[in-house]
Symmetry: C2
């Protein structure tokens, strides 16, 4: 009798815990930002920045180093000046930008992990593009495919990660083959939206082919189904190089999302004033984004913001600074001015997964999210201005991301949540631990941390005073060990492997053009 009751309680508790987990998952998988964005500038000031960037595009123009791209621009009425400079007609430009979609849905090969960005909707990526990786055991070292795989496995473990970047360069794989193994690893080990590098026509085509096979799509459906994202960085100031133009054109043809992110570090590649750096960011973003819309009106694109400042004593880039936050707030206003999704980031210049890394990344993240960003690149793992991805920093960031996913869940104000009955019942003194109002809700009432240790000092000390960075290290490798590859039809994996074998035999991709 007792056993049965206790079993019933356990079953009910398990059911509640399950329901709680499902409720958490749903909100963590598709974030909706419920808060009105913070604005840095008045509407007039944003209009002044907009107009100044149109003036830059018209008068100074953008140097475009790819012949096909220049031909596209000229074809719609832009003027080619000397030295490959394209001068933009503001009306034609704005007419083209009107074709760009305000939201993009990125499809996972597991439909439950498909994610939309734009409007109030937000997606998160891992850190991307680091040559090095680090963890407490192995220190800092050039990345390998094993490291790459480990970060993929850990990314797969967390619902608050929606996109995956090229987490670390697998430097043990030849450049011409690297994209093949990176794309396969993401497709086979995760359900996250993959990144495709703009490393030339062949590498892009190879990556798209692997993703097409992973999704089991025919060629026609593939080019109408965004399943990946890429970043084109303009070569600030005011240049678009051969590979970036190539990528913008190929991504538009491929129907895959392209983010145009100017690398506008105020004081170095951009004016020392934040409004000036934003003028340049905006000019370069519009120039690249409109190329997509010429190639294929309605191509999925995203406005990229990465404006920060440098240390004026050394020229070193700085992140998570007050200037970074202001630029992030303003970039939200600019992206909304064009009705585009906004990409921002959560970077830090710290060399270690320490308190500086935590506070700088969080300054960046608050600036980005409260500015209204829809896609956070470098959301987990980034250190050293991107030169390293850190296992410990990855877990520290996931904890903060999970807190934001919870923060973004709205609170209901109802008779039940106002709790007048419970307040009257408990009265003066006393506590709420045992009330029915608490018992009905306690399992899902609050965020339960992944990394934070809320124990008292004596317990913390007696367990060895293990700090957050050390705890993060443990969690990272527990997640590596616990990894289970997501379900995928083995025939798809076989097709991918056959394709990689063929491309390897052919010598891989020419990544120069």
């Amino acid at each position: 009798m007792n056993t049965q009751r206790s079993g019933g309680r356990r079953a009910r508790a398990a059911k509640r815990a399950n329901a709680a987990e499902r409720a958490f998952d749903a909100a963590w998988r598709q974030w909706k930002n419920p808060y009105a964005p913070i604005e840095q500038f008045s509407a007039d000031e944003i209009e002044a920045i907009h107009n100044a960037s149109l003036k830059v595009l018209r008068d100074t123009g953008i140097k475009v180093l790819n012949d096909e791209a220049r031909a596209y621009y000229v074809q719609v009425g832009m003027r080619e000046g000397k030295d490959h400079v394209i001068h933009f007609d503001p009306d034609v430009l704005m007419g083209l930008m009107a074709h760009a979609p305000s939201e993009v849905t990125l499809h996972s090969h597991n439909p439950a992990r498909t994610v939309t960005i734009g409007g109030r909707q937000v997606g998160i990526t891992t850190s991307a593009g680091s040559p090095n990786c680090s963890d407490l055991q192995g220190g800092r070292r050039p990345g390998t495919l094993l490291d790459y795989d480990n970060f993929c496995k850990v990314a797969q473990a967390f619902d608050v990660i929606h996109f995956i970047g090229p987490v670390v360069e697998p430097q043990d794989i030849a450049m011409g083959l690297r994209h093949l193994h990176m794309t396969r690893s993401i497709a086979a080990r995760t359900e996250k939206i993959p990144f495709v590098y703009f490393r030339g026509r062949e590498a892009i085509a190879d990556s798209y082919e692997i993703l097409r096979l992973a999704h089991g799509l025919n060629h026609e459906d593939f080019v109408n189904t965004p399943v990946s994202y890429s970043v084109a960085n303009s070569n600030s100031p005011l240049q678009l190089d051969e590979l970036m133009c190539r990528g913008i054109i190929d991504a538009a043809h491929g129907g895959q999302m392209m983010i145009l992110t100017p690398f506008t570090l105020a004081g170095a590649m951009a004016p020392v004033t934040i409004p000036g750096a934003l003028v340049m960011q905006n000019a370069e973003a519009l120039a690249g984004l409109c190329l997509s819309q010429i190639v294929r009106p309605g191509a999925p694109v995203c406005y990229g913001s990465f404006t920060s400042n440098v240390d004026m004593r050394t020229g070193a880039p700085a992140f998570g600074t007050p200037e970074y936050v202001k630029a992030a707030f303003a970039s939200g206003q600019l992206a909304r001015r064009y009705n585009l999704p906004l990409r921002s980031s959560a970077p830090t210049a710290s060399n270690a997964p320490d308190a500086q890394a935590a506070y700088e990344s969080q300054m960046s993240l608050w600036g980005a999210l409260m500015g209204g960003a829809n896609l956070i690149l470098h959301g987990a793992g980034w250190l050293e201005g991107g030169l390293t991805i850190s296992a410990e920093k990855f877990i520290i960031d996931v904890e903060v991301l999970q807190m934001f996913a919870e923060l973004f869940k709205p609170l209901e104000v109802t008779e039940a949540t106002l709790g007048l009955e419970a307040i009257a019942d408990v009265g003066h003194g006393g506590h709420f631990f045992g009330t029915q109002h608490t018992l009905d809700r306690f399992e899902t009432a609050f965020y339960s941390p992944l990394l934070s240790d809320w124990s008292n000092y004596e317990n913390y000390r007696d367990r060895g005073a293990v700090d957050a960075t050390q705890r993060a290290n443990r969690i990272f490798f527990e997640k590596v060990d616990a990894h289970q590859p997501p379900l995928m039809d083995p025939a798809r994996i076989d097709a991918i492997d056959a394709f990689i074998a063929k491309r390897t035999e052919e010598g891989g991709a020419n990544i120069e053009r």
Copy 2:
């Protein structure tokens, strides 16, 4: 000739640096938050919380354990029920609250350090009330007067600290004498606005007398000049104890600022729902604040918010959680509902000055500041839910506070800051390091960090890979060593010392009533 030119350059550079420092100081000494506050609830939802708290005050009431306080309430028409419970008439209550000022100016004995809170204006305090202190050298230990003095010295070194809390309990001083030495130390070593503990009538009177002497004011001017602040914590749920009532009454008579902060931890002393916890916070805050306004209409007060949640598995308090941030946003809306300044905090539950301490405190701080808080208690140094003040955490927090002070400086959008001329001059490729536009601005363009290390990895490693916590330790003790006491008429110090000698001879204060 060369020497002269170089001297001229140096002089000009020094002048510019000086001007830059002055410009930084001014904004750091009086913060103005330029951003519209983030709102958690609709106006209707805030009204529902307001109305629910009035219902709680009327029907369940507040247990008031001090006879004089109950007499004050009854005198204005509140009803005393059984067991010392006061039932509040909503109209009388709101009529009283209308007397409370929306801004309070707190005077320093150095007029340049006087600070106003309320509206857009924000002040920052150190951490307060910890029994323990810690640093990397000495570990965690009970506080002494030497530790207390060190934190006062370091607080004095930073313009972004405006108020000083009882940083750590000097446990080597007898309780009845402690307030004398604490108040003297703040007055003699800092120009920050001091905290006065509500530890009974005599201790409050002693503290006020020391501050009166420090300011060189006569008794009449003193009670019309806010020079200090105190916190009354209601004994949640729904109680005001003897000492807190005593303090509220004495602070109102003394013309000194009183913050009423309910200790509403959702799931423990308050309902498990955040709206329910806010109903209780609001009821308790209004009950205590209106007592001030009965004693002395127009007495300087501040609405205190500290609502957070507990870990439901252990009952341990948690801080910097998503729930904490939501409560902070909502508390801003409630304080503005009553046109009152808002006190919030930047706490963490972390046991070490590590990444967790950094990210939890920053979650709290962003929630508080973007919710529209006017006074941030525990702004620097807090660890372990307040059980310890940490030297390293103090410096980590100051770095983040300085970043916020910079963030709050507005950006001008003008022809000069849009930088079109510089952009046209630099053209495509190239950089902005050497342009006149950069040279004219680079010294004051960006925040220059106190603690953050932006060097590259090789330099960081070659200097010993000193992480943020270790660097913070160095900075803390450099500031202790560099301390210079602020200017004060020696006659005032003599008067304070004579007063302390007399009170010591009399046996100090009775801190029980």
